[in-house]
Symmetry: C2
Subunit: 200 residues, 2 copies
DNA sequence: AGCGTAAGTAATCGACTGATAACCTGTCAA
DNA sequence: TTGACAGGTTATCAGTCGATTACTTACGCT
């Protein structure tokens, strides 16, 4: 858990490659601690590079976070757009909404993206982050709307996603069995898509 | 915005009074910045006392936050319990759910409580906070369940609340008109209960 | 070969944060 | 009056963080 998760050949790399590697590391780091709770040094250690290098690559911790956040939002957005573009997709069928829901619960497998998005959404005290959050939320809701869902359904869908994010953030799935009341909410939120007791 | 919002007689007070005053200030401060993003000094300034006094009163920044969080959850919990205890309350009627919804949107008037709750819910990287978050969420969902709502309705209700929290956190209501896509989601989330352009 | 540039680090700084210690002071009981 | 305790502050510290500077080293090109 200390350094260089996933990437081992820490030898020299092209700037572009290194950049995306650090970005991936930053996703993991920020997913855990949020903007304020994550140091650039934590990101650096996760990526296996030095701390000054991280800030020099992105200019500022804030710019780094915004890039990480935008990346997460884009990936989530793409997941929905991908489903909507599938042959025979029809949101009018109950199967249609189910497919969209699956797209989201699939993202649970890559918890970090959802957590980063969540942290961006709730970091309203940093104006730039709040601005990106509004743009990201607008983009996602527009895409859902464009699949044919009406406004209320879009709202309900996103609302359910937010609950899912929150339940993940508070580690509910990992604590199944500890509290019957929470268990009920957990299973009924995640359905059968409960993430395993896997990684952090 | 610098010191001693609301309370002016900053002269000597009983320990209990001062404690609840600082607690109220801490709610405002943590609501804005979350756990990591708020310093004990910010809380102290908001309360009009010195920073060391704040930490001595609560022992630790973490203990202070947990107390603030529990307080927020308790107030929100009470709001629902209060509605459920009203004469003639019946969740089977569509008026019943509407009443519960109103109870929540009423809380929007005191945004700080919701924001503190939200921050607690997403501060999963601090184990103690996550534990309190799970307990709080369990308590709230149990109370909703006890009004007669079935599990799915409880989930939907809480999900809607989470979306509301998130939209507040990203200052959506204050930015109405800037983005049509976000506007649609905003008005359809808040209904007619849109908070005015009032305080921070 | 050898040099220039891009990749990357070590050293360090100033600001801030949470916490501790030591001190001050108003109020109330005897 | 006086003394003691509760309420509250100033001074200060050690650790952490984001950022800057200056230095080093590997690779590609002629």
């Amino acid at each position: 858990m200390s350094a260089d998760d996933s990437q081992e050949p820490t030898g020299r790399m092209s700037a572009a490659d290194r950049r995306s590697q650090v970005l991936a590391a930053a996703v993991q780091a920020f997913a855990a601690g949020g903007y304020h709770g994550t140091s650039t040094d934590a990101v650096a250690r996760q990526a296996g590079v030095s701390q000054p290098y991280v800030v020099r690559m992105f200019g500022t911790k804030l710019e780094l976070f915004l890039e990480v956040f935008d990346h997460a939002v884009a990936r989530i957005h793409d997941a929905f757009a991908g489903v909507a573009a599938q042959d025979g997709f029809d949101v009018a069928t109950e199967d249609g909404v189910a497919q969209l829901g699956e797209a989201y619960t699939d993202l649970v497998a890559d918890q970090a993206l959802l957590q980063v998005m969540m942290h961006g959404f709730s970091a309203g005290s940093v104006p730039e982050i709040a601005a990106h959050a509004r743009t990201g939320m607008a983009r996602i809701s527009a895409t859902l709307r464009s699949t044919g869902l009406d406004d209320d359904s879009v709202r309900d869908f996103i609302a359910h996603g937010m609950l899912l994010n929150v339940m993940l953030a508070m580690r509910s799935p990992e604590h199944l069995g500890a509290d019957p009341d929470l268990d009920a909410l957990t299973v009924c939120t995640f359905g059968e898509a409960l993430p395993g007791p896997a990684e952090v």
